[in-house]
């Protein structure tokens, strides 16, 4: 959680471009041209990040689509958002 986002998870859209291809979404980091492919759960988490939701709300949205233990979904969401923050794609 940061002061800038008030807990909301926000995509840093000036740092990447994305495209849907087949049942995947591919993101390219503009700084170095590295590619990241998202599918399944990672794609669901990415799509649930709308700039208004915090981690709890993102987990809730993912849980509506993917049945499973809410605590486990929350752990997956936290872990993946951590990766997205580290990659420079989101803040929050």
């Amino acid at each position: 959680m940061t002061e800038e986002t008030g807990g909301r998870i926000v995509k840093l859209t000036d740092r990447f471009v994305e495209t849907a291809i087949g049942d995947e979404t591919v993101i390219m980091r503009l700084a170095d041209g590295d590619f990241f492919a998202l599918d399944g759960t990672s794609l669901a988490i990415w799509q649930a990040i709308d700039g208004a939701r915090d981690r709890a709300k993102v987990s809730e949205a993912v849980g509506l689509l993917h049945q499973g233990d809410p605590a486990e979904i929350r752990r997956d969401v936290d872990a993946f958002i951590g990766e997205l923050v580290a990659a420079g794609f989101v803040a929050g």
């Binding site: 471009v17 495209t19 291809i21 087949g22 049942d23 995947e24 979404t25 591919v26 390219m28 503009l30 041209g33 590619f35 492919a37 998202l38 599918d39």
Partner: protein
């Protein structure tokens, strides 16, 4: 370069490239836009109209709309100069006219093209020669030039380079040598046994060559296709410079192509004793790939 309504019709592309790559004698040039272009380097001007390649004894200047000017004639002509004309200069002319290069060799299959890509030494030309020996016409060697359509489809120009093979590949494929490239570059020009093709054809599949213990042909996931299409071959670098393309635009272009193009990994042993087996494995699947 992204497709636009001003792109030449496909039928005009062969004629365009033929006009643009006409060779004329010209003055020795070592500067472009006031910038000294040193031996062993190349330079594209900011207007994207002129491409200068310098070597120790000669210069080659491509001028868009006018052709290629080579000077002076030296002991290097025609062999060494011819290699540059087929390579970087042709690529520059193609890219400055909005065409897209792939580092690939290819055969014609059922009204389309199946291309093979991989780094230098992956076996692209050797595989091409092996398939040609089985009757598949050669479409191109080493560089595939294409027009990218609005929906990412690729219309491929017939090859402009001669097939070149190392001596061991000549022996392995049974290809006929028609001369050594040069003393400094002892590959052999070879005549493709299956003949070649002189018309524009659509690209149906791209095969990424890899080495493994046993043969396997595996489709590549949609996301991975984009990464595989992003290569750093010198012709692609010329394209990116010629198109003044941003990272974001390049991504969108590759995504458009990846959305349409079937890409497979062909893993196979590179043991010369198994070349017939591995070539046969792919040959049996070529028509299915081209559908």
């Amino acid at each position: 370069m992204p497709a636009s309504s001003s792109q030449p019709l496909q039928d005009d592309l062969v004629a365009l490239m033929r006009r643009e790559t006409r060779v004329f004698p010209g003055p020795f040039v070592d500067r472009l836009e006031g910038r000294l272009v040193t031996s062993g380097t190349q330079y594209l001007d900011h207007a994207r109209e002129n491409f200068l390649l310098r070597d120790r004894d000669f210069s080659i200047l491509y001028r868009k709309g006018h052709g290629v000017f080579v000077s002076p004639e030296t002991a290097a002509w025609p062999g060494e100069v011819a290699l540059y004309l087929e390579g970087s200069v042709y690529a520059a002319a193609a890219c400055l006219n909005g065409l897209f290069p792939l580092h690939a060799s290819a055969v014609a299959v059922g009204g389309g093209v199946v291309a093979f890509t991989g780094p230098a030494g992956a076996g692209k030309s050797t595989l091409l020669a092996g398939l040609s020996a089985r009757g598949w016409p050669m479409f191109c060697d080493d560089t595939l030039i294409a027009q990218v359509g609005d929906r990412g489809d690729l219309a491929c120009l017939p090859g402009h380079k001669r097939l070149k093979l190392w001596p061991d590949s000549l022996e392995m494929t049974g290809a006929r040598s028609i001369g050594v490239v040069s003393a400094a570059y002892p590959k052999h020009f070879a005549s493709p046994a299956g003949g070649d093709v002189a018309r524009i054809l659509p690209l149906r599949a791209l095969i990424v060559l890899e080495e493994a213990e046993e043969c396997a042909l595996v489709p590549v996931s949609p996301g991975e296709r984009i990464a595989l299409l992003d290569d750093d071959h010198h012709t692609r670098l010329i394209y990116e410079d010629a198109a003044a393309i941003t990272q974001a635009d390049k991504f969108r272009l590759l995504a458009r192509i990846a959305g349409r193009l079937a890409i497979h990994r062909f893993a196979r042993p590179k043991d010369p004793a198994r070349f017939g087996e591995t070539t046969g494995f792919l040959a049996e699947r070529l028509e299915g790939l081209a559908e």
